[in-house]
């Protein structure tokens, strides 16, 4: 089943809970400006590996690791925007 854009954000929130073990209330309170990398202790470079693979599986996208730079995980909004852009490809 293809993902409609507004379910992408929900999926990303679920991913942050499932992969990083962040409290659901913390994730529910995130807005586009909420910083991620450097602000969430759970999100280190090793956790990013698992997060990317789960994003691929759940959103049915392919992520080329060359596309990934530091800005991707800068904020909740940048991560959602990246996922939405990948789905359109």
């Amino acid at each position: 089943m293809p993902f409609v854009p507004d379910s992408v954000e929900t999926t990303i929130r679920e991913l942050l809970v499932d992969v990083l073990g962040v409290a659901p209330a913390t994730v529910a309170a995130m807005t586009d400006d909420t910083p991620l990398f450097g602000a969430l202790p759970e999100l280190d470079s090793m956790a990013v590996a698992g997060l990317l693979t789960e994003m691929e599986d759940r959103l049915e996208i392919m992520i080329d690791d060359d596309d990934i730079d530091g800005d991707l995980f800068e904020s909740f909004g940048s991560l959602v925007a990246f996922a939405k852009a990948k789905i359109k490809e």
Binding site: D18, G21, M46, A49, G50
Partner: protein, 230 residues
């Protein structure tokens, strides 16, 4: 019935491999095929808690060490999914298993026994491989080295490569890239969140436990195993 763990072994390719058991006197004997690589460590406590619950319900269960993993003296780099599939079938016979239980990467090697099979959260080998490759690349990057997936996969054609702390040989890398869980007769598949409530502990960077999930897994396994096989 005893809730104390017992330790048994099975023999494969010149090594005695460790098996953690509960309820060895019970009629039902569930052979648990663990998740693979790091996911095994992250799920072990949840699984062992489920095993204690099962023993309390008079259901015996046995958690395998795969050759090359955990306490095993065998080398990991000579293992492959085909070898491990043969291991599960062989160990099942040696240990008197009546049912097979597998989760995550364990579902890639569980299909050779002919016994009733219960799977939780199956995963493609390619997803496991990709995560390990990304972890390796991220680790290298932090150490100031630049590595690409293409380079790693090319190196893996001629010799072992180190991925996220695992030294994997060419056969293992090739089989992970191409293997998906195989359908078998007498198969049930449980999805996390739908059939079993709990958290995907295998994804977590830090090992955790989930007592409610262990209880839910044990209750479902008790009901399922009473309805088939044995």
């Amino acid at each position: 019935m005893s809730l104390r763990p017992e330790f048994r072994t099975y023999h494969f390719a010149g090594h005695d491999e460790h098996v953690l058991c509960f309820g060895t006197a019970s009629n039902r004997q569930l052979l648990i095929v663990p998740p693979l690589f790091d996911e095994m460590n992250r799920c072990r406590r949840m699984l062992v808690q489920a095993m204690r619950e099962l023993a309390g319900r008079d259901v015996g269960c046995m958690l395998l060490d795969l050759p090359g993993c955990n306490e095993s003296h065998a080398a990991l780099e000579v293992q492959s999914l085909s070898t491990w599939r043969a291991v599960v079938a062989d160990a099942g016979e040696q240990l008197g298993a009546t049912h097979i239980v597998s989760l995550r990467g364990g579902t890639l090697i569980d299909a050779g026994t002919g016994l009733p099979l219960w799977r939780l959260a199956p995963v493609k080998g390619a997803s496991l491989l990709k995560t390990m490759i990304r972890t390796r690349i991220a680790g290298d990057k932090e150490a100031g080295r630049s590595t690409s997936e293409t380079e790693l996969l090319a190196a893996a054609q001629s010799g072992p490569i180190e991925l996220a702390g695992n030294r994997l040989g060419p056969a293992m890398v090739a089989e992970l890239a191409s293997t998906e869980p195989q359908d078998t007769a007498q198969l049930v598949v449980r999805a996390l969140g739908q059939d079993i409530s709990g958290s995907p502990l295998w994804l977590r960077a830090e090992p955790q436990d989930d007592a409610a999930m262990s209880a839910a897994v044990a209750a479902d396994l008790d009901q399922w195993s009473a309805s088939c096989g044995g």
